[in-house]
Point group: C2
Chain length 227, copies 2
Amino acid sequence: MQDISTDGNGQGRIRQENEKRIMKAAEKVFAQNGFRGATTASIAEEAGLPKANIHYYFGTKAKLYRAVVDDIVALWLSSFREITANDDPASTLADYIRAKMDLSRTRPEASRVFANELIRGAPRIKPYLEGDLKDWVESKAAILDMWVEQGKMAPVDSKRLIFHIWAMTQTWADFEVQWASVLGRQDGLQDADFDKATDAIISTVLRTCGLLPLPSRRHATEMPLTV
Amino acid sequence: MQDISTDGNGQGRIRQENEKRIMKAAEKVFAQNGFRGATTASIAEEAGLPKANIHYYFGTKAKLYRAVVDDIVALWLSSFREITANDDPASTLADYIRAKMDLSRTRPEASRVFANELIRGAPRIKPYLEGDLKDWVESKAAILDMWVEQGKMAPVDSKRLIFHIWAMTQTWADFEVQWASVLGRQDGLQDADFDKATDAIISTVLRTCGLLPLPSRRHATEMPLTV
DNA sequence: AACTTACCTGACCAAATGGTCAATTCTTGC
DNA sequence: GCAAGAATTGACCATTTGGTCAGGTAAGTT
């Protein structure tokens, strides 16, 4: 006989399938409406199940939300294992930016749930921000600083650089509609748009770190700028 | 006798004061909960007025929201007049970033209402995005391109550079709690934090444009990187 | 086949929500 | 000081919301 707890994730086949289905629907609805704005009825409709079914599996809206957010935090953390010690700065940074942009393209709803949570002051994930995330930032900033020490790259404000990489990569998920509108993409951003954005972010970051030669200017009438 | 339209902004003294008061409260509540999640009751409480009073001045929640959003769009647009033709690229960009960061620091709630709207797919402001904002971006990108043509700065992807300036500046308003948590600021970000962030963004942008000499590396054991 | 457990869901409920309204008080121009 | 419009608000209402529950069906185990 298998242990199937009521609220956790038991291992009943049907249960697993339905929980996944509900969480996918919930992620979408929470992303679009935030916790307070989302209704269990609309989540049920999105999942193609009667509302009572949602409560059967998750109990309350708050617990369902918690499950969705925890899932996303786990995704975030797993994507963070990237940057490691004595790699090459340029390729490591570029790889990390590419990984982050892939998440923005493939899991925009997850990013938006997270964004909603932050805009609201992160009542439910502050411990994560002050714990795992803070630790991660500090350890990665230390690596950047070490690279600077070793003369592998130009001095930078390492923490702000990390923050700004997140800002630039996540804006393409969170505010996609803004960039699509401004670029005139009626059907939303295409893969090519993400590629172009990725290149632009990599250029910006590598130039910030002095890791990318500046293309020569059109009219070479001025002195070189850089040391 | 003065013309006081019911829904617009008549010039009754009391009316003006109360409308301002309600909109301020509404901005805060909408920022924290989005349109659907905000309740007229909580807006009323925040404003220190009975709920019926809110309806007396604005009719419906939707009209109030519209008024708040329009106000913010106007603020946004006015902050956009900045970048003009044949200025000096470096100081113009730096000034613009400083202005945008000042908005993030002084009007974070406005930024968050806007962010909420974008996350939701911008149902109510798409015309603005596809109109005024698109035009603004195109005209300013043209100026950047002109500077490149004139050899005043290195070639850049001008539109993405603008997008990323927004992303970096607005993240300090929209996701303040995240950065405060990671930096260990228990009482929220301080002015010094914004100053440091502003410097970091300016450095990144100017280096991207080849407008800032790179500080020399610690160990000058390698060849200069830039052309 | 019998039995146990997981799964399903229509019908229901109390609370919250956006909005209305009529009665009352406050302002203001004359 | 007084009439006319502006402002105020408690009480009320229809609808929506999160959540419950009883009575059922399907699935697995022996």
